[in-house]
Amino acid sequence: MAALQVKPTRMELSNLKKKRQVAVRGHKLMKDKRDEMVRRFIIYIRRNRMLREQVEQKLSLAMSEFVIARASMSHASIEEALSYPARPATVHASTRNVLSIKMPELTLEESAGFEYPYGFATTSAELDAAVQAFAELLPMLIELAEVEKICNRLADEIEKTRRRVNALEYVMIPQFEEAIRMITMKLDENERGNLTRLMKTKEMLAQKS
Protein backbone atom coordinates (compact mmCIF):
# COMPACT_ATOMS: atom_id res chain seq x y z
CA MET A 1 0.00 0.00 0.00
CA ALA A 2 1.16 3.46 -0.82
CA ALA A 3 2.14 4.93 2.49
CA LEU A 4 1.39 8.52 3.28
CA GLN A 5 4.27 10.86 2.61
CA VAL A 6 4.85 12.67 5.89
CA LYS A 7 7.72 14.39 7.60
CA PRO A 8 8.80 12.49 10.71
CA THR A 9 8.14 15.24 13.21
CA ARG A 10 6.25 15.34 16.48
CA MET A 11 3.87 17.87 15.00
CA GLU A 12 2.91 15.51 12.18
CA LEU A 13 2.55 12.68 14.63
CA SER A 14 0.03 14.46 16.78
CA ASN A 15 -1.87 15.63 13.69
CA LEU A 16 -2.01 12.10 12.35
CA LYS A 17 -3.20 10.73 15.65
CA LYS A 18 -6.04 13.22 15.65
CA LYS A 19 -6.93 12.32 12.08
CA ARG A 20 -6.95 8.66 12.91
CA GLN A 21 -9.25 9.26 15.83
CA VAL A 22 -11.70 11.12 13.59
CA ALA A 23 -11.52 8.38 10.96
CA VAL A 24 -12.19 5.63 13.48
CA ARG A 25 -15.13 7.51 14.89
CA GLY A 26 -16.51 8.22 11.42
CA HIS A 27 -16.06 4.61 10.49
CA LYS A 28 -18.06 3.42 13.47
CA LEU A 29 -20.87 5.88 12.80
CA MET A 30 -20.98 5.02 9.12
CA LYS A 31 -21.05 1.32 9.89
CA ASP A 32 -23.97 1.78 12.27
CA LYS A 33 -25.78 3.83 9.66
CA ARG A 34 -25.25 1.16 7.06
CA ASP A 35 -26.52 -1.60 9.32
CA GLU A 36 -29.65 0.34 10.20
CA MET A 37 -30.31 1.18 6.56
CA VAL A 38 -29.99 -2.44 5.56
CA ARG A 39 -32.42 -3.42 8.31
CA ARG A 40 -34.97 -0.90 7.08
CA PHE A 41 -34.33 -1.79 3.48
CA ILE A 42 -35.18 -5.42 4.08
CA ILE A 43 -38.49 -4.45 5.68
CA TYR A 44 -39.36 -2.13 2.82
CA ILE A 45 -38.29 -4.43 0.04
CA ARG A 46 -40.44 -7.26 1.41
CA ARG A 47 -43.39 -4.89 1.47
CA ASN A 48 -42.51 -3.64 -1.99
CA ARG A 49 -42.57 -7.14 -3.37
CA MET A 50 -45.86 -7.99 -1.75
CA LEU A 51 -47.51 -4.80 -2.98
CA ARG A 52 -46.07 -5.24 -6.43
CA GLU A 53 -47.50 -8.73 -6.72
CA GLN A 54 -50.94 -7.61 -5.63
CA VAL A 55 -50.95 -4.55 -7.85
CA GLU A 56 -49.83 -6.44 -10.93
CA GLN A 57 -52.48 -9.05 -10.45
CA LYS A 58 -55.33 -6.63 -9.80
CA LEU A 59 -54.30 -4.11 -12.39
CA SER A 60 -54.08 -6.72 -15.10
CA LEU A 61 -57.58 -7.76 -14.13
CA ALA A 62 -58.90 -4.22 -14.26
CA MET A 63 -57.26 -3.62 -17.60
CA SER A 64 -58.55 -6.76 -19.19
CA GLU A 65 -61.98 -5.75 -17.95
CA PHE A 66 -61.52 -2.45 -19.68
CA VAL A 67 -60.57 -4.19 -22.89
CA ILE A 68 -63.85 -6.11 -22.71
CA ALA A 69 -65.67 -2.86 -22.05
CA ARG A 70 -64.12 -1.37 -25.14
CA ALA A 71 -65.24 -4.32 -27.16
CA SER A 72 -68.80 -4.11 -25.91
CA MET A 73 -69.20 -0.41 -26.53
CA SER A 74 -68.68 1.69 -29.57
CA HIS A 75 -65.40 3.53 -29.83
CA ALA A 76 -67.09 6.91 -29.89
CA SER A 77 -69.28 6.35 -26.86
CA ILE A 78 -66.43 5.09 -24.68
CA GLU A 79 -64.38 8.06 -25.70
CA GLU A 80 -67.28 10.32 -24.87
CA ALA A 81 -67.90 8.72 -21.50
CA LEU A 82 -64.29 9.12 -20.46
CA SER A 83 -63.73 12.57 -21.83
CA TYR A 84 -65.80 14.15 -19.08
CA PRO A 85 -63.38 15.57 -16.60
CA ALA A 86 -63.39 13.59 -13.39
CA ARG A 87 -62.46 15.17 -10.13
CA PRO A 88 -58.69 15.27 -10.42
CA ALA A 89 -56.91 12.91 -8.07
CA THR A 90 -54.06 14.55 -6.20
CA VAL A 91 -51.50 13.42 -3.71
CA HIS A 92 -49.95 15.14 -0.77
CA ALA A 93 -46.26 14.83 -1.31
CA SER A 94 -43.82 15.56 1.46
CA THR A 95 -40.43 14.36 2.57
CA ARG A 96 -39.34 12.78 5.78
CA ASN A 97 -35.78 12.72 6.97
CA VAL A 98 -34.64 9.23 7.87
CA LEU A 99 -30.94 8.76 8.62
CA SER A 100 -30.35 11.96 6.67
CA ILE A 101 -31.96 10.49 3.59
CA LYS A 102 -34.94 12.32 2.26
CA MET A 103 -37.73 9.82 2.03
CA PRO A 104 -40.85 10.59 0.05
CA GLU A 105 -44.19 10.50 1.76
CA LEU A 106 -47.24 10.26 -0.44
CA THR A 107 -50.81 10.32 0.72
CA LEU A 108 -53.74 10.24 -1.60
CA GLU A 109 -56.03 13.19 -1.26
CA GLU A 110 -59.20 11.81 0.27
CA SER A 111 -62.12 12.42 -1.97
CA ALA A 112 -65.52 11.96 -0.40
CA GLY A 113 -66.84 8.86 -2.07
CA PHE A 114 -66.18 7.75 -5.57
CA GLU A 115 -68.43 8.93 -8.36
CA TYR A 116 -68.59 7.87 -11.94
CA PRO A 117 -67.83 10.88 -14.10
CA TYR A 118 -70.26 9.71 -16.78
CA GLY A 119 -73.92 8.82 -17.02
CA PHE A 120 -75.06 5.22 -17.13
CA ALA A 121 -77.34 5.50 -20.14
CA THR A 122 -74.79 4.91 -22.86
CA THR A 123 -72.15 2.95 -21.02
CA SER A 124 -71.83 -0.75 -20.35
CA ALA A 125 -71.54 -2.50 -17.01
CA GLU A 126 -68.06 -3.73 -17.87
CA LEU A 127 -66.81 -0.18 -18.04
CA ASP A 128 -68.26 0.54 -14.59
CA ALA A 129 -66.53 -2.54 -13.25
CA ALA A 130 -63.20 -1.60 -14.79
CA VAL A 131 -63.38 1.96 -13.52
CA GLN A 132 -64.36 0.86 -10.06
CA ALA A 133 -61.61 -1.72 -9.91
CA PHE A 134 -59.12 0.94 -10.87
CA ALA A 135 -60.47 3.39 -8.32
CA GLU A 136 -60.13 0.80 -5.59
CA LEU A 137 -56.63 0.08 -6.73
CA LEU A 138 -55.46 3.68 -6.64
CA PRO A 139 -54.55 3.91 -2.93
CA MET A 140 -52.51 0.76 -3.32
CA LEU A 141 -50.80 2.17 -6.38
CA ILE A 142 -49.83 5.28 -4.48
CA GLU A 143 -48.46 3.21 -1.62
CA LEU A 144 -46.51 1.13 -4.08
CA ALA A 145 -45.08 4.31 -5.56
CA GLU A 146 -43.95 5.48 -2.14
CA VAL A 147 -42.45 2.17 -1.08
CA GLU A 148 -40.73 1.59 -4.37
CA LYS A 149 -39.19 5.04 -4.32
CA ILE A 150 -37.99 4.51 -0.76
CA CYS A 151 -36.39 1.24 -1.80
CA ASN A 152 -34.62 2.92 -4.69
CA ARG A 153 -33.29 5.67 -2.48
CA LEU A 154 -32.23 3.29 0.26
CA ALA A 155 -30.46 0.94 -2.13
CA ASP A 156 -28.55 3.85 -3.59
CA GLU A 157 -27.63 5.26 -0.22
CA ILE A 158 -26.60 1.87 1.17
CA GLU A 159 -24.26 1.40 -1.75
CA LYS A 160 -22.65 4.79 -1.17
CA THR A 161 -22.32 4.26 2.56
CA ARG A 162 -20.82 0.83 2.09
CA ARG A 163 -18.16 2.30 -0.16
CA ARG A 164 -17.33 4.92 2.43
CA VAL A 165 -17.14 2.34 5.20
CA ASN A 166 -14.82 0.17 3.14
CA ALA A 167 -12.66 3.09 2.10
CA LEU A 168 -12.22 4.08 5.74
CA GLU A 169 -11.71 0.57 6.98
CA TYR A 170 -9.31 -0.73 4.36
CA VAL A 171 -7.56 2.38 3.05
CA MET A 172 -7.67 5.44 5.26
CA ILE A 173 -7.24 3.91 8.69
CA PRO A 174 -4.45 1.47 7.72
CA GLN A 175 -2.64 4.35 6.03
CA PHE A 176 -2.78 6.45 9.15
CA GLU A 177 -1.64 3.54 11.29
CA GLU A 178 1.27 2.90 8.98
CA ALA A 179 2.32 6.56 8.94
CA ILE A 180 2.07 6.79 12.71
CA ARG A 181 4.17 3.68 13.13
CA MET A 182 6.76 5.04 10.74
CA ILE A 183 7.05 8.36 12.53
CA THR A 184 7.28 6.77 15.95
CA MET A 185 10.07 4.52 14.76
CA LYS A 186 11.94 7.41 13.16
CA LEU A 187 11.61 9.52 16.31
CA ASP A 188 12.74 6.63 18.51
CA GLU A 189 15.69 6.02 16.25
CA ASN A 190 16.68 9.70 16.46
CA GLU A 191 16.34 9.52 20.22
CA ARG A 192 18.61 6.49 20.40
CA GLY A 193 21.12 8.11 18.03
CA ASN A 194 21.18 11.19 20.22
CA LEU A 195 21.71 9.13 23.37
CA THR A 196 24.63 7.15 21.98
CA ARG A 197 26.21 10.35 20.73
CA LEU A 198 25.96 11.87 24.19
CA MET A 199 27.40 8.78 25.84
CA LYS A 200 30.24 8.69 23.33
CA THR A 201 31.04 12.37 23.92
CA LYS A 202 30.99 11.87 27.65
CA GLU A 203 33.38 8.96 27.29
CA MET A 204 35.75 11.03 25.14
CA LEU A 205 35.66 13.89 27.62
CA ALA A 206 36.41 11.52 30.48
CA GLN A 207 39.41 10.09 28.60
CA LYS A 208 40.83 13.55 27.90
CA SER A 209 40.85 14.75 31.51
Partner: protein, 111 residues
Protein backbone atom coordinates in the same frame (compact mmCIF):
# COMPACT_ATOMS: atom_id res chain seq x y z
CA UNK B 1 -42.32 19.47 6.47
CA UNK B 2 -43.56 20.91 3.28
CA UNK B 3 -46.89 19.46 2.37
CA UNK B 4 -47.69 20.02 -1.22
CA UNK B 5 -50.49 18.98 -3.45
CA UNK B 6 -49.28 17.29 -6.56
CA UNK B 7 -50.70 15.54 -9.55
CA UNK B 8 -50.55 11.94 -10.62
CA UNK B 9 -49.82 11.14 -14.23
CA UNK B 10 -50.10 7.96 -16.20
CA UNK B 11 -48.40 7.35 -19.54
CA UNK B 12 -49.09 4.41 -21.79
CA UNK B 13 -50.93 3.14 -24.81
CA UNK B 14 -54.57 4.02 -25.19
CA UNK B 15 -56.06 0.68 -24.25
CA UNK B 16 -54.20 0.50 -20.99
CA UNK B 17 -54.45 3.97 -19.56
CA UNK B 18 -57.74 5.44 -20.71
CA UNK B 19 -59.59 3.90 -17.80
CA UNK B 20 -57.48 5.93 -15.40
CA UNK B 21 -59.08 9.06 -16.72
CA UNK B 22 -62.35 8.23 -14.99
CA UNK B 23 -60.54 8.15 -11.65
CA UNK B 24 -59.01 11.56 -12.14
CA UNK B 25 -55.45 10.78 -13.16
CA UNK B 26 -53.76 12.87 -15.81
CA UNK B 27 -53.68 10.54 -18.76
CA UNK B 28 -51.08 10.81 -21.50
CA UNK B 29 -51.63 8.60 -24.47
CA UNK B 30 -48.20 7.75 -25.80
CA UNK B 31 -46.62 4.63 -27.17
CA UNK B 32 -43.43 6.06 -28.63
CA UNK B 33 -40.69 5.80 -26.03
CA UNK B 34 -38.73 8.77 -27.33
CA UNK B 35 -41.67 11.12 -27.00
CA UNK B 36 -42.51 9.50 -23.68
CA UNK B 37 -39.04 10.37 -22.38
CA UNK B 38 -39.59 13.99 -23.27
CA UNK B 39 -42.97 13.81 -21.61
CA UNK B 40 -41.40 12.46 -18.43
CA UNK B 41 -38.99 15.38 -18.29
CA UNK B 42 -41.82 17.81 -18.85
CA UNK B 43 -44.05 16.24 -16.23
CA UNK B 44 -41.23 16.19 -13.72
CA UNK B 45 -40.90 19.94 -14.11
CA UNK B 46 -44.64 20.43 -13.89
CA UNK B 47 -45.15 19.24 -10.34
CA UNK B 48 -46.22 15.69 -11.03
CA UNK B 49 -44.85 13.66 -8.16
CA UNK B 50 -46.06 10.26 -9.24
CA UNK B 51 -45.77 9.05 -12.82
CA UNK B 52 -47.04 5.64 -13.75
CA UNK B 53 -45.55 4.17 -16.87
CA UNK B 54 -46.56 1.02 -18.70
CA UNK B 55 -43.90 -1.64 -18.88
CA UNK B 56 -43.08 -1.46 -22.60
CA UNK B 57 -42.43 2.26 -22.22
CA UNK B 58 -40.53 1.72 -19.00
CA UNK B 59 -38.03 -0.36 -20.97
CA UNK B 60 -37.75 2.28 -23.64
CA UNK B 61 -37.23 5.29 -21.37
CA UNK B 62 -34.50 3.92 -19.15
CA UNK B 63 -32.37 7.01 -19.64
CA UNK B 64 -35.00 9.42 -18.40
CA UNK B 65 -35.94 7.09 -15.58
CA UNK B 66 -32.43 6.63 -14.27
CA UNK B 67 -32.10 10.40 -14.05
CA UNK B 68 -34.95 10.64 -11.56
CA UNK B 69 -34.37 7.31 -9.90
CA UNK B 70 -32.29 8.53 -7.01
CA UNK B 71 -34.11 11.80 -6.54
CA UNK B 72 -36.92 12.05 -4.08
CA UNK B 73 -39.49 13.10 -6.63
CA UNK B 74 -41.01 12.23 -9.03
CA UNK B 75 -41.57 8.56 -8.43
CA UNK B 76 -41.68 6.79 -11.77
CA UNK B 77 -43.40 3.48 -11.32
CA UNK B 78 -43.83 0.74 -13.92
CA UNK B 79 -47.28 -0.80 -14.20
CA UNK B 80 -48.44 -3.70 -16.33
CA UNK B 81 -50.34 -2.77 -19.47
CA UNK B 82 -53.36 -4.51 -20.90
CA UNK B 83 -51.22 -7.44 -22.00
CA UNK B 84 -50.25 -8.26 -18.44
CA UNK B 85 -47.05 -7.96 -16.45
CA UNK B 86 -43.77 -8.86 -18.06
CA UNK B 87 -41.69 -9.04 -14.92
CA UNK B 88 -39.73 -5.84 -15.47
CA UNK B 89 -40.80 -4.43 -12.14
CA UNK B 90 -39.91 -7.59 -10.27
CA UNK B 91 -36.49 -7.58 -11.89
CA UNK B 92 -36.16 -4.00 -10.70
CA UNK B 93 -36.85 -5.05 -7.11
CA UNK B 94 -34.29 -7.82 -7.43
CA UNK B 95 -31.73 -5.40 -8.81
CA UNK B 96 -32.32 -3.14 -5.83
CA UNK B 97 -31.71 -5.98 -3.41
CA UNK B 98 -28.52 -6.89 -5.18
CA UNK B 99 -27.36 -3.30 -5.18
CA UNK B 100 -28.01 -2.82 -1.49
CA UNK B 101 -26.99 -6.14 -0.02
CA UNK B 102 -24.59 -7.41 -2.62
CA UNK B 103 -26.44 -10.58 -3.39
CA UNK B 104 -30.04 -11.57 -3.74
CA UNK B 105 -30.57 -13.22 -0.39
CA UNK B 106 -34.24 -12.45 -0.03
CA UNK B 107 -35.86 -13.86 -3.11
CA UNK B 108 -33.24 -16.32 -4.24
CA UNK B 109 -35.16 -19.35 -3.01
CA UNK B 110 -38.13 -18.63 -5.24
CA UNK B 111 -36.38 -17.26 -8.31
Amino acid sequence: MDKKKAGIAIIGDRDSVLVAKAVGLAVFDESNSERASKLIHRLARENYKVIFLTEPLYNGCSEAISKYKTETFPAIIPIPDSHGASGVAMAQIKANVEKAIGTDILFAEEG
